[in-house]
């Protein structure tokens, strides 16, 4: 799952080396905390959060066959 998040975000930013995904397990869900270079924040959020929404839709859909619910936290 971490790999998928990185794969999705990598071509969207100017500083792919600054992408960080931190995984945290909570009782009912897996939380992934995504951080990117401050200059790239807008690029992963998009106008009205459209890009962030698309990233979440894809990640959640890919996570349906995992045991726990997934939550993606951006920045």
């Amino acid at each position: 799952m971490k790999a998928l998040i990185t794969t999705i975000v990598e071509p969207l930013v100017d500083h792919p080396e600054d992408i960080k995904v931190v995984e945290k397990e909570e009782p009912n869900k897996m939380v992934y905390h995504l951080t990117v270079n401050p200059e790239d924040v807008g690029k992963v959020i998009g106008k009205n959060g459209r890009i962030a929404k698309s990233i979440r839709t894809v990640v959640y859909a890919a996570g349906t066959n995992t045991k726990k619910r997934i939550y993606l936290d951006i920045m």
Binding site: L12, S54, A61
Partner: protein, 206 residues
Amino acid sequence: MKQVTASGQTVNDAVQSALQQLNTTEDQVHIDIIDEGKKGMFGLFGAKRAIVKVTIKEDPIDQAKIYLKQIAHSFSNDVDVDVKRDGQNIRFDLSGEKIAMIIGKRGQTLNAIQHLVQVMLNRHTNEHFRIIIDAEGYRERRQATLEQLAQRLADKAIKIKKHVALEPMPSYERKIIHSILQDNHEVETYSDGKEPNRHVVIKPLL
């Protein structure tokens, strides 16, 4: 961008050596000759090696295809991507097992993937590409569904003499609804709300 600088006895030798290092072929690269080199006397005195800089040309559409494939493979390893290009319009067709997972409820996952690929592709080029990602004929089936839905809701709007709002849809799906009801003179259609909640409203004319 991947590039190497290589040298050889002749320009051709240098290019070949660079191609080998990059593991590619001549039609995939851009070649800059830095020094043509000199043969020298009897190949001994004053000989200078030829130096070239070889850069791999990155085709944005290929990049997009790889990107799409990587995303699709997180759902199922058995997904193929077929690309068709017609000017600025590019069509990606996904096929394979578990395609329903990739489409998602009312195509929301497919639409999200399409949006990401669109953003990614247009970030790397100056051209503006319009893309469509389809999976096992989903878009056509959706069109048929939308046609039925539009007719049904138009009838309803006429019957109850009130505006009927549809659920939010992406622009090309709204366009389908508008164009279907264009020929129906008893109703008018318009879009209301802001993306991503923009939706079609059908208004009875009487």
